[in-house]
Structures are given as structure tokens and as C-alpha cells.
Subunit: 365 residues, 4 copies
């Protein structure tokens, strides 16, 4: 398996011109595309439609180039968008391709498994039913990626549904109980359940500790490599598992780390080194250019404090705390790598311990 | 002259308990306080009343301790607040004291001059009338601070009025023309005019190049040490000029720098070195603790791009670009110094060249 | 008892000039002031400090005129502010005075009882402990107001604490459990518990039906005359009970109604008639001028729909649903009364049935 | 000419299911659709992409049903969206069809002319070049609609480009000057120029009074029937002219009015009567059901005051004044008509006199 990684700038949520150009110039074979992960410039909340707009726009382009329908592209390619480009964050898409890749590599290389769950019903969002569906999908991903040791897994991106006014109405009609009736408030449950699904599949938590009551509450249970999001445009969960496999022949390697807060520059540097960059002091321009993609989660610390100082993220009624956190972490990462086109998404329920945040970097070998 | 510098955490805009405690423990003599510069947790816009609330709260405390009225404290002490603690920024106040300071120092030390202008009428906001009043106040500050060479000036904080619905109505009644009728839109003019006042007094621009039309338009004219803000609670301009003087005997020294963008970690490090810290690679905890205060301006780049990547600051109708910029720069500075209680304020019209931003650091000797 | 009612415009949260003028002209005797209810121009959320700023500003004025301290004024006078002047809502304060009032009236007239609870601890916010404290205060208010039949009660305003980062930290330190850890999310619990306290005292619900689990959940339990709010600046609950009493000799009468949604013009007109205005079709200017004050609650309907049409209040991540609801209802009321200085506050948990909203009007006899 | 009018609810910006259903049930012939005017649930600002998403979604549906491309649909059908469903406003689309319509009617009936201008270059946005292009298109619309007397014109909807970061960059590259460099700030100029184009074509202003300097400044020049908007997704202006023509045989008639402020209930009732409803006092349910569509503009009054009371629309840095104004007017209209699916868009530059706002109603005969 050979995984290709290509970062594309976007001038708006429906700007697919960079991919168009790369297909035209034969730098990317559209038939090999398996996943698109990106940031769009919406508010990142329940009424952020930039994600759906971007998906539809890429689907239309690829459907036209591959002679099929947008719906078919939707089944074939996983689209994961995080809304909200606060601070310096730059709207972009990272396109992943997968091909046979004949040549052998001289060590473990980037591998990727992609699996979806069945549709998650509104009443299952944020419950053990969702945990189990995600765990099963993660296990299928491991097989697909050719990874046997969970230690070789560095990043598991899961995107699943949140509750929307429409799905709440649907559950009401069928007399079903929901974990919450607040669309924006359903995100912690939705993200938490999918993260625990990853943790369960990778042996980071034991099934005995899990229950509906633990979700979005027992934050001592977590995965260190999960990055989960929830959006109104999805009905099932999509799992993208990234790791290094000796059966892969990609030009890339992936590493990960854990950030202790949103200004943890040392943690960012350690992650880059874990992925294979070597530097002390400042990152050189040459090494920085080897970074293909960075994926990080940003969150407020549980008590709102950073390094002993009070921040106002958690009490701000104008700007959601996720937006504050993304703005901060995105800027710190970009100050090290010189590239603001980073995937930083909000909400870390059950992703690392309370206050900590997962980060992964893909680096050209 | 001996200048004292003390940073106080604030749990809300009206929390003056830290100053109360320091007065009670005789660590600060309230009679020596000459200025308070801080961040409050409002939105930073025309309807941000946290600044006025903080001023009133400190005035009440000091009036009670000094046996005088809040209004008298207002005349005696300069209060400069910047609203908006986006990202990790932490609400705080830095209190400056000034005393005779008998002992001689072994080199130039922190000096401070404070002067106010007469009341600026609404029709003068953003015009040459304001430029000239500020320039005159800056010249008086130089004398007061014992600084003869403009090169020894590192930071000139000016706060002046913006246009408010009330001041617009007042001008209308008197038949006067304004630079704009939009309260939030008057900030660039207000900040620009005061910055050009600083530049004029320090010889950074020549009078011949200045005119009403140049204000908030000819951005090739600027001061490299001015940091100006505008708030609805002020009617005159207050100038606080910081530099190093051989006649001062403070325990502090000040330095400054210019940031090329909001993620310019190198520029921040250079500023800390300019102020007297010595380090290569990461700042040690010991050196970091020597930092008494950092004052920086944050802004979007003119074309919205950072290191070639598009940001969405300038087109965001939900969150003002100043808030994005403050969130980014605040986080990057804190990632280096480990302290989110930084004065980062928005809007750099005529403060450094287009896209660049001034920053100053006060460091314990 | 004679209750005076006077509405004052405010140019900013700290503008007390209208009250100053009325005291100077002897139209209001500051010693007779017992309550101030008003709207301030903040965001209405957990970080809205305009309420505290307004309280401090009025306390300072009254302390100076009455030769006492702001803290003493705080004990003597109840201040109730609702932040958020969305749409056309106009910042203002309605000042209530109470005096002996020698002359007998020709029927029931406006009466007012004001009582506070003890301090509500963070762990009690949103629990039965708060319900009982409020119910006891309501009963004391009835006695004070000279009202024996609960049917004569038309409006009970309760303001109490919400959870703040500081109070959450305090509870954590003492090992106490909270109903939620989200400051903005604590408002439904805080408002719900105080509303149920009113309902309990007025016999609208039976004690047997109440429990911690019912609060902010069993919305079939409610008071039709309660209007409750929660703010970070309060530690105890303040109850202001308004009704008509035959022992009162005020120039005013109060009436109330129930709105079926935020555009219920008929419900508004019915309320005005209940308070004593007589009109069919449009309200005449003469009758409109008899309206001294209107107090209403605004909320999104539970499913977000109004008259069968979907609104986007509940899924909007930029603007809180309370702000949408206040904007809508405030405009509809003002379109009938021609006065945008109305007290419209958000959140109707246990105040009227689901989707319905309480409204009261005070009218000059 | 026979014009059909059909209002469709939308569950999200890409929900075209109602139109799909009506096409399937043959209630609407997709080949007859000439225009779609609607509200989407974005923020209404420069970064509101819900408008483009809705357009693309309808284009895809219609392209599939008509066997053509989305681009072709874009040329054939005018799409006009206003973003921002504040308060109770409900996302929806009103679809207009045009067919031959054989039968003669017993009086003037709804007629519609639709014309586009050539592409407006960034440097032309907000200038006389745009005024002239729009005026020419309006004149072509009159011919198309079979209207000779401008008095029979009741509503002219124009949508054109605003400045975006991309178009500003384009102008910079070609060395062109713009009316402003602020994307959100370009809306007043863009809307103003197109409104003056309407006024010029309908003889409401004389060419001699017009100049670049008059645009967004001389507000005594205006059209009483223009309703103009600006969005980043457009490059040319689209003009939709509605009036009554004796050559039309539609089942509808249109009327218009002028609102003196955002709470002008009398003005709304007068408009409904002008369109053909007859009622005194409250509108009956039967008459209300005859209303097919309402189009209104909402704006803050120039001094921010409504009926002598200060509102905070113009100084609010969190919520744009257009959003406040739309929330208010939308609720007042819905309180009269019982239908929150109303087209209320913001910004009235040169549309009615300062503070006044145009409104039109289409009513079933």
C-alpha cells in the first residue's frame, strides 16, 4: 500500500480549483483518492453548513472526472471537515490517495484504513451503541491498514453525527430518549462516544469500565490517538485510522504526541520529532517543508486556566470556547511550522486526559 | 526616578482584590501609583463596558485608600484598558508606581512620562488636530521621563476617544463633520491619528507628509514604538511614554521589537533579548520569570494572508478581525513566555509598517 | 402603601443622569426607592458585566445622595437587571418607590413585596434547596404586600445566582457536586428552581411533585406569574412580588397574561386590557401613554417552530437562542405600545407551560 | 404572461425536497421557473456561504429534472438569497414561474421582468458604472414585464457583487482603486449603487444629481421600490422587477408601502391593503392565507433611535446592526401575518428615505 498526501488551499468552501488543476496536470489520479480531511471557514457549530458545501463541491468535481454520481463518490471517499478557521488557521483540504505501491520501503511507512459504521440513530448518539459500532469499525481499519500492534497507530479520525433539530424531532416522533435536546450541546456526547470506541478497539480502556453514564463524564477514560468530531451533515460514523506499517511503501511516516495545553510548544516539537524530523532549537525551513500535514485537537482546560492564569474561554457567551482554543493552538503550531493550513478541531472529550490534547504529524521521509 | 511594575490577576472587570492585598501588605504604596495598563474580558468593541467598569472599580479602591474621590484618582492616575481576552489571554492589570529612587543605577533604566491632551472634540477624532495634540503631549512626556534621544523610547501607549452614538449626535447638533459615522469604524481613524502624533514627536515622520487625508490611508507613515487604542469612555488622549533613562534607578529595563506577522516567534524572542534577557533556543523558566510585562499590538495582515496562506480574519462577519489577531498573537507570545497575562491590543494603523506590529517587553534587571 | 413607578432612559450601563435629575428636581425621593428593574446592553450571558456596572453606578449615586455607602444601598434596594437589548430593545431602568400613601383608593392598586433569601451555595443552585428558600421568600413578600389571595399576584421577579468559573472552583474545593459545570448552561437550572419556588408558594404546584430531578426537566410544572433570571453577580435570590391590594393607594394597577409564542400580538393586547387599558383595534396614543412598564419573558419554542415554521434559534452557534427570542418579542410589544424600553428577559424554564411565556403590565389608573 | 408564486420551507440551505415533491406531483413545471427568492440561515455577512450552497443545491435538482447542467440553470433562473434568519425568520424559498397564461384577467395582475447586467468589476462596485448598468437592466425589465407606467412597479429586487478578499486582490493586481477595502464595509456602497440604478430608471432621481460621491452618502436620493442586496457569490447584478400589468393574467397582485421604522405595524397593514387585502383591526386567518409572499428591507435608523428611544444596534460589536433590524422587523410582520417565512433583508442605502424601509406584498386575487 502506498499512501499519497497532498494539501490544497481553498479560497472558499466550494473552491475545488486546486484539485482540479492537480488532476488536469496528472499529479493526482482521482481514482486513487480515498479521503479528504480539511478545515472550512464556518463557525464550527451546529449551523455550520460550510462542511456540507465543501463535501458537495468536491463530490461534484470528482463525479465529473470519474464519470459517476456525487452520491457514489460519497460512498467511495471519506470526507472529514472541521469548521472554524479562527486566528490564523487557513481553509484547506488534505487529499489522501491509496495505490498498490510496488517498491519495498526501508522501514514502516504511512498506512491508512477507512471504514464506516452503519447509520447511528439519534437515540444512539452519545451512547454505548455508538461506542461499539465505532470500535468494530476501528478493528476493521487495523486489518485494512496492515497494522497488528496498536502502538503503530498514531491518529484515528472519527466523524459522526450530532443531534440536529431534525433528528431530535425524528426521535420525538418515535418516542425515543436522547442524551440531550440541545444541538450544540450534543457535541460532547457525540465526540466522547466515538473516542471511547477508538480507545476500546485499541485496548486503551477496558469494556468493563464503559457505560452510558461514563460518556462525557468519566474523563479518566480516553484514547491518546483519537480525534473525533461531530457534524449535522452525517448519519453514520466514518473512521480513518492512520499508522505506520511495514507493509506500506508510502513516502511518508506519521507520529503523534500529547499536548498538555493549547500553548505547549514543546509538545508540538516533540510530535514533529516523533514523526521523524530532527532538529534542536528552531525548526529549519528545510525540515519544516517536510511536514505534509498536522492534525490536532484544541480545547479549553477543565478549569479554564492555562499555566495558572485564568482564561475566559468557558464563560464567553459570544464566542464558543472551542473557537478560542482553536485560535490559540493553531497560532502556536503555525509559529513553529510556518504553515497556518493545519487541521485543528475542537472538543477533546475522551481524547487524551482532561486538559491534554492529541496531535499527529505526517512527515515526508 | 524609580519605576515599579506589578502585574495583578483579575477574576472579573471589577476585581481589585489583588491590589487591595498588596496595599494592605505594604508591597505597594497607593500614593505612588501613576498608571494602570490592563486587559479586560469584554468584546473590545464600541459596546465594551468592561474597561469603564474596571476603571471605576480601581478608582473606588484607591479613592478609599487615599482619602480622596474617584474623580481625583482619575486625574492623578492613567488607566489604559484593552478589551478582549481572546484565545488564552488572561484578564489582568499592570500597575506602575513612580518614586524618587535615591540610589544610582549602573546603566539606563526604565523611565516613564505620562501626559494627557485637552479634550478631543468628536469632529477632531481622526484628524490632524488630534495628531498635533498627541505630539505635544509626547514631547512633554520626554521631558518628564528624562529622555533626550528618541532612540531610548521603546513604547508609547496612547489611548483616546472613538466616536460613539452620543458623540456623533453631539457633533450633528453642532453641525460638525466627522471622519465616519460608524462607531466601530471610527477606531482606525482614532488609533491612526494618535499613532501619527507619536511618530511626529519622535521624528519618525515629517510634518510635511501629514494631512487629514493621510490618516488611516498612507500606511507608509508610521511610528515603530506607538501602541494606540480608542475607547468610548475617554474624551481626551492619554500618553504613556516608556523608555530607558540614565537618570532612572528602576529595577527594570524596557526593550522593543517589530513583529512581521502574528506568528512571528523569532520577533518575540528578539524583543525579549532587546530588553535584556539572554537565551538561545528555549527561554528558561528563570529567564521567563524576569519578564515583568509585555505589550504588543495584533492585527490582520493587509491582504489577510499569513506566510502565503489565506486567513479568514478580514471576511468574518461574526468575529472581528482584531479578535482573531489578538487570539493568535497572544497564544504565540504565551507559548514562549509561559504567561498568558499579556497586553495584546488590536489595530495597528500607523503603528509599524503595513502588516507589522510593535511589541515591547519590560524585564527585571 | 403607595408604589411609584418611573422609567429612566440610560445612555450606557453607568448612566444614572436621569435619576440624578429627578432627585434634584424632587420628583423622586431617593429614600423611598425600593427597587430598580432594568435592561442593560450586554450580551446577557455569563460574561455580561453591564449588570454589575449598572448596579454599582446606581448604588454610588444613591449612596452619595443618602449619605451612606454603596454596600448599604445594596442591602436596602433590590436591583434586577437583564442583559441583552437585542432588536429594538432600549436600555433603561424602572425605579420603584414605596411610601406611606395616606389617601384611600377606589379599588385594588399596585402593591409590592421585596424579600431576599440567604446566600445560595453553588451546590444548591438549581436544586430543591433553592426552591424552598425562594418559596419562603415569596410567602414573606405576600405578607409585606398585603396580598392574601394568590390570584391578586401578577408578577414575581426573581433573580438569583448562576454558576460561574469562580463558584464552580469553590464547590470543587469543597468536594461538592453541581447540577452542571457549564456556566452558561447553569442558567436553565438556576431559573427553573427559582420559578418552581414561586409556583410552590403560590399553590401552582404541589410539593409532592417537586424534586431535584424535576428541575429543568418536568416542564408541565410551572408558575404563570414568575419571571426569573440568573446572573453571576448575585449570591442570594431576590424576590420582587407585584400584585394588586386593596390596602394599596398607588396610582397604578398591574395585570398579566400568557403569550403562546414570541409573536403573540393578541396575548400582548389581552395583557394590556387585563391591566386596565380599554381598546379595540389599535391602541391609541393616549392609552399607550398610560403604560408605565411591561415585563415579559421571551424564549424559543421547544421544537424551534413558530406557527408551524422552522426558526433557527436553537441551532445557531453564533447568537444564543435567548437573544433571538428577546429580539422578536421586544419588537412585537414595541410595535403595539410604541415604546422599545421594555423589560424582556430570556429563559422561561418553569415559567408558564412549554413554549408559553409570562407577561405583565403596569398601567396608570 | 402568467406568474406563479410558491413558497417552500427549507430544513437547511441544501434542502430542496419541497420543490422536488412539487415537481414530482406536477404542481410546478420546472421548465417554467424563472426566479427563486429566499432566506438562508447564515450570518448574512461576507462569509455567509449558505446562499451559494442553496443556489448550487437548487441548480443541481433543476438540472437533473430538466436534463441540463447546473451552469445552464444558473443562466436561465435568477437566484436571490438573503442570509440571516434572526428572531423568528424562517428559512424558505419563494419560487416564481412564468407561463403564457391564455385567459384574460379582470384587471392588472402580477408581472415580472428579469434581466442581468454584464459583470461588474471590483473597481466598479459602488460607482456610477454600476448605477448605469443597473438602470439599463431595469429599463429592459419594464419592457419584458409589459409595464409602461413606473407607478405600476412595486418591487425591484437587485442582487449584485460585494467586494471580497479575492476581488480586492484582483483589483490590486490590476492597480485599480476601490470604494473601500473592507469586504463587509463594501455592502453599503454595493447596495446603494444598485438602488440608485433603480431610482434612475424609474425616474425617482435625476441623473444630474448622481455622482460617485453621492453613493452611500446623499441619502435624500432614493428609490421607494428598490430592494437591493450584495453577496460575494455574484459577479454581475440581477434585476427582478415586479409590478402589475394589464397584459398579465396571474392569480396574484402586488402592492407596496414604506415603513417608517422597524416596528411600524401600521405601515405593514397599509401595504397589505395596498396589495388588495381588505381588513380593519386584526387580519383574519382567511385574509392572511391570501398572502403569497412579503419582501421587506430592515435597517437601523440613522441615529439608532426608535420612537425616541435609544437602541444599541449601531454600537454592537458582537451582532451586526442588520441582524438586529431583521430580527425586529421580521417578528413584527409575522405577528400580523402569522407566517415567519418572510423575505427580510438588511441594508437600505438609497432604498426609501433615511430610516424608512420598503416593503412589498404579493397577494392572491
Amino acid at each position: 500500500m502506498k499512501i499519497g498526501v497532498c494539501k490544497l488551499a481553498m479560497a472558499s468552501p466550494n473552491d475545488v480549483s486546486e484539485l482540479e488543476r492537480l488532476i488536469d496536470s496528472r499529479e493526482i489520479d482521482p481514482a486513487e483518492i480515498v479521503a479528504v480531511i480539511g478545515k472550512t471557514e464556518g463557525n464550527g457549530g451546529a449551523n455550520d453548513f460550510t462542511r456540507g458545501f465543501a463535501t458537495l463541491s468536491y463530490q461534484l468535481l470528482l463525479a465529473s472526472r470519474l464519470g459517476t454520481s456525487p452520491a457514489e463518490i460519497g460512498k467511495r471517499i471519506a470526507f472529514v471537515w472541521s469548521g472554524g478557521t479562527e486566528g490564523v488557521l487557513s481553509p484547506h483540504a488534505t487529499v489522501f490517495t491509496r495505490s498498490a505501491g510496488a517498491d519495498a520501503a526501508d522501514g514502516p511507512r504511512l498506512a491508512l484504513g477507512i471504514e464506516g459504521t452503519r447509520e447511528i440513530r439519534p437515540e444512539e448518539v452519545g451512547t454505548m451503541a455508538q461506542v461499539h459500532e465505532v470500535a468494530a469499525a476501528v478493528r476493521r481499519c487495523l486489518v485494512q491498514a496492515g497494522i497488528t500492534d496498536p502502538k503503530d497507530v498514531h491518529y484515528v479520525q472519527v466523524k459522526g453525527p450530532l443531534l440536529t433539530p431534525a433528528s431530535i424531532a425524528d426521535a420525538d416522533q418515535r418516542g425515543k430518549t436522547l442524551v440531550t435536546r440541545d444541538p450544540n450541546g450534543s457535541k460532547p456526547f457525540a465526540r466522547g462516544a466515538t473516542a471511547l470506541g477508538v480507545a476500546l478497539a485499541l485496548g486503551e480502556v477496558s469494556e468493563a469500565d464503559l457505560s452510558n453514564d461514563a460518556i462525557a463524564r468519566r474523563f479518566d477514560l480516553f484514547s491518546s490517538v483519537a480525534s473525533t468530531s461531530a457534524g449535522g451533515e452525517l448519519k453514520n460514523c466514518e473512521v480513518l485510522l492512520f499508522g505506520n506499517s511495514s507493509t506500506a511503501t508510502s513516502d511518508f511516516r506519521i507520529g503523534h504526541g500529547v499536548l498538555k495545553d493549547t500553548i505547549d510548544a514543546d509538545g508540538i516539537c516533540a510530535t514533529l520529532r516523533n514523526a521523524g524530523l530532527s532538529f534542536s532549537g528552531n525548526l529549519s525551513n528545510e525540515e519544516a517543508r517536510r511536514i505534509a500535514a498536522i492534525f490536532a485537537k484544541a480545547d479549553a482546560s477543565p478549569n479554564g486556566k492555562i499555566r495558572g492564569r485564568r482564561t475566559t474561554m468557558l464563560s464567553d457567551a459570544d464566542i464558543n470556547y472551542e473557537r478560542h482554543a482553536r485560535a490559540a493552538l493553531g497560532a502556536v503550531i503555525a509559529s513553529i511550522t510556518s504553515d497556518p493550513a493545519i487541521f485543528v478541531s475542537g472538543g477533546t472529550e475522551h481524547q487524551c486526559g482532561p486538559g491534554a490534547m492529541p496531535i499527529a504529524a505526517i512527515v515526508r521521509v
